[in-house]
């Protein structure tokens, strides 16, 4: 169990998350919501509001670390850019590790850069979708290349696929994107165990193997 770095708040959140991840059937959230809403004669709700994201994080249904209420939006949560970048080298598909200085780093068009979220993000209850913020889109920066869908149970620093339309200077720790969370029937699914998965331990980008979705 190595979610987070240290500190009891992180460990407690990680334990709550782990307990929920291991036994989603203990309180089948989707089934309750489905029943309640269909009884009221309407179709179920799907996207979590900001207050619902906060409640889910407190209950351990969503893992965001570090979590700061200031990053809640009406229906998403803002994530930040870590200072680690992988830059393609000119000699084929080799990646060069770059640590962005506080003065920033200029992305050039015509190439892809891999970045990572500062936060570890994941959920075994809700499907996570990753997107950029409009402030970043307005600067012509793509945050992913048509790969915005997260897997249930995956929890990591997300890899960002940065593409710039015009040269643009970016900075470590800046707010770059948002994640939204979507209801699903989690009891009828299985959890992600693909090659970017390490038993809820993210592949830290500090060893420059960028984590997964």
């Amino acid at each position: 169990m190595r979610i987070g770095s240290n500190g009891s708040a992180t460990d407690a959140a990680a334990l709550r998350y782990r307990a929920n991840a291991e036994n989603p059937a203990a309180s089948p959230l989707f089934a309750q919501i489905w029943l309640r809403t269909t009884k009221q004669g309407r179709t179920p709700d799907v996207i979590l509001t900001g207050p619902a994201i906060k409640a889910a994080a407190q209950k351990g249904h969503i893992f965001i670390e570090p979590f700061d209420e200031a990053n809640l939006n009406p229906n998403s949560y803002n994530y930040h850019l870590s200072d680690r970048l992988l830059v393609p080298s000119s000699a084929g598909m080799r990646w060069r590790k770059v640590r962005m200085p506080s003065e920033g780093f200029v992305l050039q068009p015509g190439t892809i850069y891999l970045g990572a979220t500062l936060e570890q993000i994941g959920s075994s209850r809700f499907v996570t979708l990753l997107l950029g913020r409009s402030s970043i889109g307005r600067l012509g920066i793509f945050l992913n290349v048509t790969a915005d869908l997260g897997h249930l149970g995956s929890c990591s620093h997300w890899t960002l696929e940065l593409i710039a339309v015009q040269p643009v200077r970016i900075y470590p720790n800046m707010k770059v994107g948002q994640v939204s969370f979507w209801l699903t029937d989690e009891t009828s699914s299985f959890h992600y165990a693909g090659r970017y998965h390490r038993d809820f331990q993210p592949v830290a980008n500090r060893d420059h193997r960028i984590g997964g979705r």
């Binding site: 409640a55 939006n73 009406p74 600067l139 920066i141 720790n173």
Partner: protein, 176 residues
């Protein structure tokens, strides 16, 4: 779930969704087609900076259209004023526009509840292509929410679209 076309129409009539002007013929089975506005904002410098204001130039899209270059971002308003305090809007391009290699947003398709405005589209062309004011450019879908609803109160609220990036107003976070 996702609202159907008829549900979008009744939500507009109830006032739960704002689409103005609303034209029934732009209603699709599970979305609403919106049009490109006529105000365009481009950055005058070649290299942009996320940490400070970037100079821009705003002009009216001519009737004979504007040829989009591949190496620029074009910020253009939607013709319609749209938004909802009840359902979450998500925008995307129409497939006819995607087939021309035009992006209408740059990984920023999710709209906040309560953001009721002419939205700023981020146009980007894969190859040079001409666009026209008033053309059908994108679709908006509406999604039911789970949880208590709060409304958008962000930095673009009081601006007239199209608005360049205000990312320089964000503070950087410093975690240990």
């Amino acid at each position: 779930m996702i609202l159907t076309g008829p549900e979008i129409e009744s939500a507009v009539q109830r006032g739960d969704i704002v689409i103005h002007p609303f034209r029934k013929r732009q209603l699709a089975p599970n979305s609403y087609d919106f049009r490109l506005g006529d105000r365009c904002c481009v950055y005058t410098g070649r290299t942009l900076d996320a940490g400070r204001p970037n100079r821009t130039r705003t002009f009216t899209l001519p009737e004979e259209g504007l040829l989009l270059r591949r190496d620029r971002v074009y910020l253009v308003n939607t013709q319609e004023t749209m938004g909802s305090r009840v359902f979450v809007p998500i925008i995307r391009g129409r497939s006819s526009v995607g087939r021309l290699g035009i992006f209408i947003d740059i990984t920023a398709d999710l709209i906040d509840l309560g953001s009721i405005n002419q939205w700023t589209l981020q146009l980007h062309a894969v190859q040079p292509v001409r666009v026209y004011p008033g053309m059908l450019i994108g679709q908006v879908t509406f999604w039911r929410t789970y949880g208590r609803r709060v409304q958008y109160d962000g930095k673009y609220r009081h601006h007239k679209s199209p608005v360049p990036s205000l990312s320089y107003l964000d503070e950087l976070v410093h975690h240990e």
